[in-house]
Symmetry: C2
Subunit: 94 residues, 2 copies
């Protein structure tokens, strides 16, 4: 019961781990400091974790990574949408 | 053998998933568009996945999440270090 709670909490936290980043991108409409490679690497990684979860028949692994994978697709979509907004046009004080 | 490769690839990709973001922060010295909540949420999530991995005795889960957790500590350190660099001092064209 305790370990189910630990696993479920881990799942919920990482499942929705990119949600704060998605909300921030949506709010600022800027992705200048966000790494696209991070998003792509996680997207592929989560897909493979999901397949591995199917193999070892661990439902928590499967569901958590399926949701993460979906959120990463949204994040990459937002990245592509907003990447032109500030690219090389920002005037920074530093 | 195939599934070990799938699990290991998933582990390597997500283990080093935040490395591109860390390198980008180090290069630009700016974290304005990066969500701190994303980093904190993943940090806690990876810690719990690691504990869950210990429980189900899955070495891939344990090692992958231990490395991710460590990289997140670095990312959060960088975030704190560079968060003042551009905060509310950026002049954006949009």
């Amino acid at each position: 019961m305790l370990w189910e709670l630990v696993g479920s909490s881990a799942a919920v936290l990482t499942m929705f781990g990119f949600v704060p980043q998605i909300l921030k991108i949506h709010k600022t409409q800027s992705v200048e400091d966000v790494s696209l490679w991070m998003l792509i690497q996680f997207c592929l990684g989560m897909l493979l974790w999901m397949l591995y979860g199917l193999h070892i028949r661990d439902n928590i692994l499967i569901v958590a990574n399926a949701v993460s994978f979906s959120s990463l697709i949204v994040a990459i979509g937002f990245f592509i949408k907003y990447r032109k907004n500030c690219r090389r046009n920002c005037k920074r004080t530093k």
